[in-house]
Symmetry: C2
């Protein structure tokens, strides 16, 4: 016997969408993935896209829907205005914006804005992963969420104190495709392995430089000319350099945290960042990114009274 | 009355070429610029391209020719193998490789290789600018040669001790064109002015971060969203951030030099780097890049006995 869903939860990004039917504890009853992110949904209509996925999963007409991600941006369905940090995680979730004109209860979790003159920053979607990362209610915690635009978040006693963005994934892609390093990495470098000694070497070099990576980018090219560095090795070197640089820079900004870093990631990225945190001598607790976003969405639904109390 | 040329000098790069007829003191008697760099010359033939320019300048058939730049790379006319640093500048110039099979005396200045395991690096062309930068024979000097791939060189008592490459110009171009920052900078940002307060602000922020620029790239995007940073201002911010990061990183690597930094540059880049060195509190001596490469080529011709002794 299949349990009745308590809520539909969506992580609705710029190019992709993931949707789940969840019970009140966050258990997955159904799942859909689609390429109809914000860009597609702006053409087809957000409501149409949503109902298509809900219908395909057999969701009841009255099932409430909680959404996070770029669907809540100014270019999205409705704008869920940024919450300015510092802000308690519970208050952030309760700031969800309601989509009017639907018979369903549909709400979108707001993003976060850091309105510092010297370090302005924004996130949208990661705040929900953060809420589902299982952070202890007390103490100071550092959270690392790697990706195209990696986010590091400092949380103290359940309040987001500040955060930063390192565009590590985007830099890898842009440099591998459009810079002189394309000659070093070749057309299709193999996926980078955390076991590669080149990943480790270049990661450790970056860790020793406090986040300065630009001084070492051309060295990857030169290593091809002078040290016979091969394309797959150059890809591992670039990945290690950028990830090591991100970790060194974040550590410099946020200092050492007593608690292990919460590493919210999935798949290959989780392995690479786990290895790199190890090279940096930082203890970490691995949190699956998919589970975190679902747990955060359930928490958001609960904070907004869309489903029952504590599981 | 026009003086007789003593040597033809060419700065022969990947995409462009500059050629001069010079007298024995380095005075310019004729000049040509062309788009027939290495890429074009590989198709047309290097000798054909060279004789075309020499003929157009009315050079005598027996005039010796001294060349620097990518024409001496493995993909060039002949390879002028890298000289490994540390190396005295005079010895580098005397390593010029002779092009066989021509009735002229044609030589190409070698590039430099830094064969350090952790900091491999190469240059080709800048060694000649360096030789013509008018460095005192004694003492420790730091030379900054900004560009697509900026070079910083540490010289002590006329010997190149080491150097590094910061791909600042390339990063600006690649990020402005292919990263999320293209939305911040727009299609055609205005040329960056050293007087822009955004250039200064972001340069000073980078100078305070020891060369860590990746932590601040996304902040330029966020400043557009949160602080209404306009496209031309974002371009100035990115330029300031990258140039400031380069200077901070180079200063960290090479330490403070007692003598002013020799800034070998021309045009807008000379102005921007001059301003940025000022923000960093570093004294500098401006050297025109065009004059430096010509002076270096004359020096190379002299060191190789192609023209007479000291001017």
């Amino acid at each position: 016997m299949s349990a009745a869903p308590a809520v539909a939860a969506l992580d609705w990004g710029t190019t992709r969408l993931r949707a789940w039917l969840l019970d009140g504890t966050g258990k997955v009853l159904a799942e859909r993935r689609g390429d109809d992110g914000l860009i597609t949904a702006r053409e087809k209509g957000f409501a149409t896209v949503l109902e298509g996925h809900l219908g395909a999963m057999g969701a009841p007409d009255t099932l409430p829907v909680i959404i996070c991600g770029m669907a809540g941006s100014r270019q999205g369905w409705i704008e869920a205005p940024y919450v300015t940090v510092p802000a308690p995680i519970g208050a952030i979730l309760r700031g969800a914006a309601r989509v009017e004109g639907s018979s369903r209860d549909i709400r979108i979790v707001p993003g976060l804005a850091q309105r510092l003159t010297e370090a302005p920053d924004v996130m949208r979607g990661e705040e929900t992963q953060l809420a589902g990362a299982g952070l202890p209610a007390k103490g100071r915690h550092l959270v690392c969420m790697p990706g195209t635009h990696s986010k590091w978040v400092a949380v103290a006693d359940g309040t987001v104190e500040g955060f930063g963005t390192w565009p590590t994934g985007e830099l890898f892609s842009v440099l591998a495709t459009h810079s002189i390093l394309k000659h070093s990495l070749g057309e299709r470098p193999a996926p980078v392995s955390a076991d590669s000694r080149f990943f480790r070497q270049w990661c450790e070099r970056a860790l020793g430089e406090g986040g300065d990576v630009t001084s070492k980018l051309f060295a990857i090219r030169a290593a091809g000319l002078l040290q016979d560095l091969q394309p797959d090795e150059a890809a591992a070197a670039l990945s290690g350099l950028l990830i090591g640089g991100e970790i060194a820079s974040a550590r410099r900004r946020y200092g050492a945290s007593e608690a292990p870093v919460a590493l919210v990631a999935s798949g290959a990225l989780a392995t690479l960042y786990g290895a790199a945190l190890g090279f940096a001598g930082l203890a970490f607790r691995a949190v699956d990114a998919d589970e975190a976003v679902r747990a955060g969405l359930v928490e958001a639904a609960r904070e907004n009274g869309m489903i029952g109390g504590a599981s």
